[in-house]
Symmetry: C2
Subunit: 233 residues, 2 copies
DNA sequence: AAATTTGTGTGTTTTTTAACATGAAATTAA
DNA sequence: TTAATTTCATGTTAAAAAACACACAAATTT
């Protein structure tokens, strides 16, 4: 997509967008204070410890949100797709970022001024309600993730990650290939395991005919069985 | 405390309470639709899967929020004290509870009507902003917990739990005994480990003179060392 | 007071997972 | 193209934590 072809307001009006409850006036406030940026694969969008100064709207591409842990391991906390907002938690809590955002593929992002964003929350009740619902839902996901990542075994954790990726990004036209390409390391960082174990478990799933793997393309061959592995833990 | 002696409005005005931005009128709306209940130790306040129909304000006592996992293990997600609100996440996300609340000691709770609560969020911007900040901050805690519980080793996790309990409930008058009594099982469920390992690691800490243990009373004898164990992971 | 349940402490064994090592394949850069 | 680097794959070893077993103490119930 050419950056010049992008019409920002079209995204703000999208029915899946939390901004769609804003009035025309309020939307122009945002549009008059926005920056459009593009990122190549593996580019860092923001980093743990930095102070947020804008709210980001992902227009095109995919972005992972990750948090550095002990040693060299990271935990991927969130996987985003258009038209998700990014970086809002730290901003709303008045804290520095506690996680980093990295582009997984070529990505286009709108950045809106953080103060204008906060003013809108304060002046538009429907908008505030949207944000509250988004945060409450994210907190639910996070709490469920705590239990899944700490209590499930490796197979269950990887199965959960594959099902999560299906729910988030869906399938290709063939209706079984995950519509996202991740390195084995990213799969490991989603599933709380080492890269070796992600590779090994992926191979095992393939040998059991649950999935098939060709490079970074993953086909889910037996959805029911994958769900069963997920449920068993 | 005698239930009849309790003056609800006094709690709503407390400076640490998110309700304190409400007008006198708005507060009376809540006060006219509240139920006062008391719970004995180990009583269940609400259960995973139930539909929330009120927002709870903890007036006296301590309450743990926990989520059942695989097998018989639970994860304690939150430890509350007066004057925290409880059960607001599920309510605000329009979902059933994904966790249960259990009284850790004799507890007194106000329950306010959930619709009145939601209406106030929608009509009072400052109140909505308070809720947003609370949710954003909780989400940050939850994300940090994911990394700590999955990546730290047993000693680091238990040290973190002890420091967390100190930050939440503080010390007794002696300035070193944790002002909360938990079973070894609860300590384990906070720290993502088995009860055996909580007992064992607690004994090790005691033998290293980091803490001392007398029944359920835990004294922190060497705070610096405990922090070091926490930092090392 | 006796019986029962619940909670605590400790040792042993087994399972799971991480760490390490090494080589092939695939990318990327020179 | 080659060379260098990264990613992927798999086997081996080591460490961490869970599972299990059992004894005993403390609290509750009868």
């Amino acid at each position: 997509m050419n950056l010049n072809d992008i019409n920002c307001s079209e995204y703000l009006n999208d029915e899946n967008n939390i901004f769609n409850v804003l009035s025309t006036n309020e939307k122009s406030t945002l549009l008059n204070n926005h920056i459009l940026s593009s990122y190549k694969r593996n580019n860092i969008i923001f980093k743990e410890g930095e102070i947020p100064n804008s709210i980001l709207l992902l227009i095109e591409g995919k972005v992972k949100i990750l948090k550095k842990g002990i040693g060299s391991r990271s935990q991927i906390l969130r996987m985003t797709k258009p038209i998700d907002i990014i970086g809002y938690r730290a901003l709303l809590a008045d804290e520095p970022y506690i996680s980093s955002a990295v582009a997984l593929e070529d990505t286009i992002i709108f950045a809106f001024d953080k103060n204008k964003f906060k003013e809108l929350i304060h002046s538009n009740n429907d908008f505030a309600t949207n944000i509250i619902k988004l945060l409450a839902s994210e907190l639910g996901f996070s709490n469920k993730k705590i239990v899944a990542l700490t209590q499930k075994h490796i197979r269950g954790r990887l199965a959960e990650t594959l099902l999560f990726l299906k729910n988030t990004y869906g399938f290709d036209e063939d209706n079984c290939t995950l519509n996202i390409c991740l390195s084995r390391e990213d799969l490991a960082n989603l599933s709380n395991m080492t890269t070796s174990n992600a590779i090994r478990t992926l191979s095992t799933f393939a040998s059991e005919d649950v999935i098939s793997v060709k490079g970074r393309k993953i086909k889910i061959k037996n959805y029911k069985k994958l769900q069963k592995i997920n449920d068993l833990g």
